[in-house]
């Protein structure tokens, strides 16, 4: 009969929707706590005072015009991959293969640059690069999607494996195309002719990529929120059974969405190789396909917020890289700091979706 003994100290329940400013307030709070914790750790390791830590992070991102451009270029690339995987994520289809899809896009671009460069007029080479990279990425994503739609094969694990197949395929072609023979790398492609290099806008090497990604971002926002396809994706994501009941062809939506997802990843690959890097390595994507998962999720799959979250991650990465360089520490310091901040933000989602009611508060209500 003793109810008190069975009454737990606190009790968790789902919140009704929070107003957006409170939700983002909680996230901002988590970010500030995370930054403080990061500064504390940096202080313990390097002996730098926390204010200087922030100054160094700022320096690493905005210290010079060049650094600022690199920052925005990195944001653009990360944002592009994040935008690519978002439609699939909205459908609760966990496409972890962004890295592989981007890499295969890079490979297709490189193939066009090497095999067609100089043989076709430059605009035709670039057109081939665009078409082939988009198709390559799309097909790379469509393979898991077809199996997912037809036999419900686990897409998380399938796309994950496809990343490594792409990596090995790239490694294979790097050896075939290596310059000079035996070097094990391709070097800058078409250095003298610049065939297949995307045009520069004025003297700004990175501006074209940034503009293209801005357009993609806008289009993706419209597609997801104001088109029939976007609506179908949302319904399939919420409940596959409902979707089937109202007559949405679920398998077609899955394949179509993954196809789109891979296509945009392929585009990102082309921008990376054709626009800035002009070379191909197996690590050229630098894990952006995985970082993109976090960017997309942190922004609640909203393309506009994604600009902010990708900015945050790239800013931290470059800032922490700066700390590492100026103190002669390993560059992996950036990963530690990023990981820590992610933990805080991931944890903060709980306080947005759930509320904790303590015992005495619950008692008053009865």
């Amino acid at each position: 009969m003793n109810n008190r003994a069975h009454n737990p100290l606190f009790h968790v329940s789902r919140r009704a929707a929070l107003p957006w400013y409170r939700a983002w307030g909680i996230r901002a709070g988590a970010l500030i706590i995370a930054l403080l914790a990061g500064a504390l750790i940096t202080n313990l390791i390097t002996g730098l005072n926390p204010l200087e830590v922030y100054a160094t992070i700022w320096q690493g991102s905005f210290g010079s015009a060049r650094r600022t451009w690199v920052l925005f270029q990195n944001i653009a690339m990360l944002l592009c991959v994040s935008l690519a995987i978002t439609p699939a994520f909205r459908m609760r289809c966990w496409n972890l293969g962004g890295d592989g899809q981007m890499l295969i896009g890079c490979l297709a671009t490189t193939a066009c640059m090497i095999l067609l460069g100089g043989k076709l007029p430059n605009w035709a080479v670039i057109l081939c690069m665009l078409v082939s990279s988009v198709l390559a990425g799309a097909i790379w994503a469509a393979i898991p999607a077809i199996f997912k739609a037809r036999w419900n094969t686990n897409e998380t694990l399938f796309t994950l494996m496809m990343n490594y197949i792409a990596t090995q395929l790239v490694a294979y072609y790097i050896i075939i195309w290596e310059v000079p023979k035996g070097a094990g790398k391709i070097g800058i492609i078409n250095q003298s002719t610049q065939a297949g290099w995307l045009p520069q806008i004025g003297s700004y090497k990175y501006l074209l990529n940034i503009l293209v990604v801005a357009v993609v971002c806008f289009l993706m926002y419209i597609y997801l929120n104001y088109s029939k396809h976007g609506y179908e994706i949302a319904v399939v994501g919420e409940s596959e059974r409902t979707a089937r009941y109202v007559g949405i062809k679920v398998d077609r939506v899955i394949i179509r969405t993954m196809f789109l997802s891979g296509a945009v990843c392929g585009l990102a690959g082309m921008l990376l190789v054709g626009g800035t890097e002009h070379t191909l390595t197996t690590t050229i994507t630098s894990g952006r396909g995985f970082t993109a998962v976090m960017v997309s999720w942190l922004a609640k799959f909203n393309p506009i917020w994604m600009v902010l979250t990708s900015f945050l991650l790239v800013f931290l990465e470059r800032g922490a890289g700066q700390i590492a360089t100026s103190f002669g520490l390993s560059a992996s310091y950036a990963d530690i700091l990023t990981g820590m901040i992610l933990f805080f933000i991931i944890g903060s989602e709980f306080f947005i979706n759930y509320e904790i009611k303590f015992r005495h508060a619950a008692g008053k209500g009865e």
Binding site: L96, T153, N154, L157, M161, I165, F290
Partner: protein, 330 residues
């Protein structure tokens, strides 16, 4: 003639880290947690062991290292490090119900960064004057084999030439398989992974099982990292050397259709596939060797596809894999 006597031991040594990783991940996944942080956890396990051994070797001098402590200290540090990573994952996904994919990937980013950072900066941070992290004294204890392995010819080479962690990996995998399949604890664990609602209704503490399975799984996976550093590379840390073995371990879980006992042989097979390119006749095109490295992943995809096509119930992933559990939702 293909040289099996030298191929098999190398395949096994490649396979052991994968076996640790996949046994740990199988336990974790059986509780419904898809821990994509395994690659990070294996890095943390490795570097924690290295930090422990490095501090110990530096404090007493490499010449007068005590055998028992040289093994016990890295082992303890490794288990502690990977346990903390598992605990963090559980706290975020089970207690705070965060998305498992995102948490796992963040854990991998953090773990790989943690490993490479301390691997690269340990010497500078500890202020010692050695040029590189070389733990040959500690490693010699980890690599110690049975004294008869040298005198028994091919048999000794194939079966007895490994350090104790290799045998431990096999034992852990077999014990894990037994527990999952034949004991009540295993039954409860599988119930939690298949249908946490049902398990909860039957009076099983879902949260506790998820925590226990994931933390123990992380510790087992962490040992894989330790084995790699202490035995396979003879105690030499180099940045990113561990590579993508963590992801391969996750692939192995699918390949074995969530059965650790199958994992024993499967991991050796994967290890073999991983190094097969070194054994194909030299003089062949170097580029083709890169294609050989694709094999483990292709094989995994084939298994994944076939098992989903045949749709046999015992070969499916745990039904609630990747989903957070909250009692008040259905």
């Amino acid at each position: 003639m293909f040289d099996f006597v030298s191929f098999i031991p190398r395949a096994v040594m490649q396979g052991i880290p994968l076996l640790f990783g996949s046994t740990g991940e199988t336990l974790t996944e059986k509780s419904g947690n898809l821990n994509l942080g395994i690659p990070g956890i294996m890095y943390v396990g490795a570097i924690s062991g290295v930090m422990g051994a490095f501090t110990y070797e530096q404090s007493v001098g490499a010449a007068n290292v005590n055998g028992f402590l040289a093994v016990a200290i890295p082992l303890f540090c490794c288990l502690l490090g990977s346990f903390l990573m598992g605990l963090l994952y559980c706290f975020l996904t089970v207690s705070l119900r965060a998305n498992q994919n995102v948490t796992g990937l963040a854990l991998t980013t953090f773990g790989v960064g943690f490993g490479n950072f301390f691997g690269g900066s340990l010497i500078k941070l500890s202020g010692s004057d050695v040029p590189a992290i070389v733990l040959s004294a500690t490693s010699s204890y980890f690599r110690r084999t049975l004294p008869i392995s040298g005198s028994t010819g091919w048999f000794g080479k194939v079966f007895l030439s490994y350090g104790f962690l290799a045998y431990l990996a096999v034992v852990i995998a077999l014990v894990a398989a037994y527990i999952l399949k034949r004991t009540r604890v295993g039954l409860h664990l599988r119930a939690v992974g298949e249908s946490p609602n049902t398990a909860d209704a039957a009076g099983i503490n879902v949260g506790r099982y998820k925590y226990a399975a994931t933390c123990i799984g992380s510790m087992i996976a962490g040992l894989g990292g330790l084995y790699y550093i202490m035995d396979y590379t003879s105690g030499i840390w180099s940045s990113d050397a561990f590579g993508d073995r963590g992801w391969l371990a996750i692939a192995l879980v699918i390949f074995t259709v969530w059965r650790p006992n199958v994992g024993v042989l499967a991991s050796f097979l994967f290890g073999g596939l991983y190094i097969l390119h070194m054994y194909i006749p030299s003089g062949m095109n170097l580029a083709v060797k890169e294609l050989y490295k694709m094999l483990p992943y292709v094989v995994t995809i084939i298994v994944l596809v076939i098992s989903s096509m045949r749709n046999k119930r015992e070969n499916q992933p745990p039904a609630s894999l990747g989903l957070p559990y909250f009692r008040e939702e259905r």
